[in-house]
């Protein structure tokens, strides 16, 4: 627990808050990237180099850009006149608050049981690679299958649209 | 094959880049303020007025006939005819331009004034370094700024100037002969008839003759 942690945590939370609260959707998307960056830095703080960089590469490099593209393609950046929150926003907020209360209570309750500092594990990319193709080869294959399915699905959706416009 | 054309193009630019260090053909830049390309003889930019002799005011060939003013397509010449006559470079009394302005901010360098001038008085200059930040003062040339000597004319358009000189000399010879004849005739007349017109008028006559073409186009212009 040091200053760096607090700064990063603050960055992440503020980014997240901005991402859900701001009116302009593009601003939301950019705030989201701030939250992603904060999280990635938290990963680095946790000595998970590979996961951190993967987080930046995938989330900032791809997901955030995709979101931005989607916003532009759907003209979602225009703020509707009758508010940006749905009419059931109160219920949603209540649910979220309840969830946070439960989670927070659980974390604080179990705090004494949680382990303290341990030595930073040294994880090389080599190890990750070996683990991926060794112990975790099945999940890897499944994820690969999933990604392929997603790819094919996306392509089919796009092609379908094209035919329709013609 | 894909990429072949691209490689050809790359080779071409490389040849030019390398060539620019060795051959003058491939490095065509003329570093302007220090070195300048010689202007061809026919080159033209803005008109100027030729004067003979040394005194520009006296030697202007222009007799303010206003043909160029009428013919100028963009109407950038302004001439005020003098009321009186002054002797020109050859001592003949002549109408002269009291005012001769050319607005070079309008002039289109077409050379039509030169073509129509019957007195070889207006010619094209090659001077092009005229840029200025003074909108009116710098771009409205008056008589004094326009007047350039015949020597200068010889310098910039040597062939043309010599032709013009020869032509003028021939005309002068003709005019002199005529004048002499006229004077002779007048003298004879005077001798014949005791009451003679004033000889000065007779002497001035050739000039009026030379002026004659001016009268015609003036009527045409409008």
């Amino acid at each position: 627990m040091n200053l760096v942690f607090y700064v990063l945590a603050g960055l992440t939370v503020l980014g997240g808050l901005a991402a859900v609260l701001l009116k302009n959707t593009v601003h939301c998307a950019l705030a989201l990237t701030v939250a992603f960056a904060g999280l990635a830095l938290l990963f680095l703080e946790l000595d998970a180099q590979f996961a951190g960089f993967a987080q930046i590469l995938v989330y900032i490099g791809a997901v955030a850009i995709l979101v931005v593209f989607a916003i532009l393609l759907t003209r979602g950046s225009e703020t509707p006149e009758d508010g940006v929150f749905s009419h059931t926003w109160l219920a949603g907020l209540a649910v979220a608050a309840a969830v946070f209360a439960v989670l927070g209570w659980a974390v604080i309750q179990s705090a004494p049981a949680l382990t303290h500092e341990s030595a930073a594990p040294v994880v090389t990319v080599n190890q990750i690679g070996n683990a991926l193709l060794g112990r975790y080869v099945l999940p890897l294959e499944i994820v690969a299958l999933l990604l392929t399915a997603a790819l094919v699905g996306a392509v089919i959706v796009a092609m379908h649209e094209k035919e329709e416009t013609k | 094959m894909l990429g072949e054309g691209i490689l050809k193009g790359l080779a071409e630019t490389a040849r030019n880049a390398v060539g620019s260090f060795v051959s003058k053909d491939r490095l065509t830049t003329v570093e302007y303020p220090e070195e300048r390309l010689p202007l061809p003889e026919a080159s033209r930019n803005f008109p100027f007025l030729v004067y003979d002799g040394t005194d520009w005011e006296k030697g202007l060939r222009c007799v303010a006939c206003q043909i160029c003013e009428k013919e100028c397509p963009p109407k950038c010449i302004y001439i005020d005819k003098s009321k009186d006559k002054k002797p020109d470079a050859f001592g003949r009394p002549q109408i002269y331009p009291a005012k001769f302005d050319i607005d070079i901010s309008v002039c289109m360098s077409c050379q039509i004034c030169v073509e129509v001038c019957p007195f070889e008085a207006i010619k094209m200059d090659t001077q092009y370094e005229l840029s200025t930040d003074d909108r009116f003062g710098g771009l409205l040339l008056d008589r004094k700024e326009l007047a350039k000597s015949n020597e200068y004319y010889h310098q910039i358009h040597p062939t043309e100037a010599s032709e013009v000189d020869a032509k003028l000399a021939a005309e002068k010879v003709k005019a002199d002969a005529k004048a002499k004849a006229a004077a002779g005739a007048a003298a004879a007349k005077a001798a014949a008839a005791a009451a003679a017109p004033k000889p000065a008028e007779a002497a001035a006559k050739p000039v009026v003759l030379a002026d004659a073409p001016a009268a015609k186009p003036q009527g045409e212009g409008d």
Binding site: - | T28, T29, V30, S105, C107, S131, T132, R135, L139
Partner: protein, 202 residues
């Protein structure tokens, strides 16, 4: 700084300069023109940037298509009444310090076409012009010479006091009103602040 002292220091290998000189040197040597051609003179302007005349030697070949990044607007050709509002708008979009060269007769006064119903009789009716080049079209050398005239003008500008450049003058006009295309003519027919009625010579 005194000139004498400066020369003396220069002799001893110490080069002294003032902020003013450095600033003027910088902007003088990096005048990026806007990629903006109007008519015949534009071809000569292009010819000036080409191999034989090579405007690049003065560091000015960076023709920026966007007015935001350009320093110099070369009005190369006839400005028609239909085009004039756009020219003024473009000038307004340029960032200070900005300069204008009126290239050729048409840009200065309407030139040979000035009697026409759709031709603006000189762009300096609406925007301030720094250098005028007469000619129809001016030779590329004339444009180079005008460019050097402009550089000289920049170099000699004091940064404070009388005669300081417009962008350092808080009271100077920054944006110029864009004329409106009316039913018969542009309205107004000139910007009286830029183009006061000249003193009549005759």
């Amino acid at each position: 700084m005194e000139e004498g002292l400066k020369i003396e220091l220069g002799k001893q290998g110490v080069f002294v300069t003032t902020i003013e000189e450095l600033y003027n040197w910088g902007r003088k040597n990096s005048v990026w023109p806007m990629q903006f051609g109007l008519a015949c003179c534009a071809i000569e302007m292009i010819a000036t940037t080409m191999a034989r005349y090579d405007l690049a030697r003065f560091g000015a070949e960076v023709f920026r298509p966007s007015p935001r990044q350009a320093d110099l607007m070369i009005i190369s050709g006839t400005v028609t009444k239909k085009m004039a509002p756009q020219v003024v708008r473009l000038y307004n979009q340029m960032a200070e310090p900005r300069y204008v060269i009126a290239m050729g007769a048409c840009a200065i006064s309407g030139g040979p076409f000035k009697q026409g119903y759709n031709v603006l009789k000189g762009i300096d009716r609406y925007i301030p012009v720094d250098v005028h080049i007469p000619g129809c079209p001016p030779r590329p050398e004339a444009l180079l010479q005008a460019f050097m005239t402009l550089q000289k003008k920049i170099e000699e500008q004091p940064l404070t006091g009388e005669g300081r450049p417009r962008h350092l003058d808080a009271e100077a006009q920054g944006e110029f009103p864009v004329p409106v295309q009316g039913e018969h003519d542009l309205e107004p027919t000139s910007n009286k602040l830029v183009w006061p009625l000249p003193v009549v010579i005759r």
